[in-house]
Symmetry: C2
Subunit: 138 residues, 2 copies
């Protein structure tokens, strides 16, 4: 039983061949992925299977969904210490206007926001857009 299989198994996800492949793929990318990205990588696989696999990962708390404002949902593996499952891990996301990649800035938490009287916060989403480190290196 490999590392990944154990990870899936311990989160109540049956480690099928497809799931292991998708997990591995997501793990080796350091940016968030759209369903179409995964589709590109596994052209022989069914879109629905990929979709449901990612959704399963999400439900089981090993992947979180990101709305980066591009109109396409992105997904990224939860880093160790990410508490998505519990009450939302409020780290911020960065979208590069140059390379179009979306990156989890896991270390950067969303600052506390004080709201007007009567408003109660339950969740928050902060996306910063600009130029990423790779793109600004040139």
């Amino acid at each position: 039983m490999t590392e990944i299989e154990r990870k899936l198994d311990s989160n109540g996800i049956r480690p099928t061949a497809m799931r292991i492949l998708i997990y591995k793929y997501m793990a080796e990318k350091n940016n968030a992925l759209a369903l179409t990205d995964v589709e590109q990588a596994f052209q022989k696989a069914e879109r629905t299977t990929l979709y449901r696999t990612i959704k399963t990962f999400e439900e089981k708390g090993i992947v979180h969904q990101i709305d980066d404002g591009t109109g396409v949902l992105k997904y990224a593996l939860c880093e160790p210490g990410c508490n998505c499952e519990i009450d939302r891990d409020l780290h911020l996301h960065f979208h590069c206007n140059s390379c179009d990649k979306t990156i989890c800035l896991t270390q950067h938490k969303i600052p506390h926001i004080n709201l007007p009287e009567g408003f109660m916060a339950e969740d928050a989403n902060l996306v910063v857009k600009g130029i990423c480190d790779s793109c600004s290196a040139y």
Copy 2:
């Protein structure tokens, strides 16, 4: 020439009947609207006309688009003092999980975020979700 006509005109928008109606409608709502909301309000009008009207408003800088994470784009009139046209007005948006309305918190600017080495911010979007003042009043 009415107030609204002047407003449109001074922003380079020809004040047609339809445009005046839509502007008025958006002005009397205090929450952000989806295209479908406007569609509901003007059932006899063509969707495309409504769509293009809002897009025109946006291009001319009197409306801004909001991605509140629901998957449906929202639009709201720019308040006096909103500098969308210039470099983005970084106020935050609140989405109520109860009444499903999205509100501009024009007074609440997005706090400065310091990013890791190499990252350069150009824009930011912060959406807080929770219970709005009207809903929490009960």
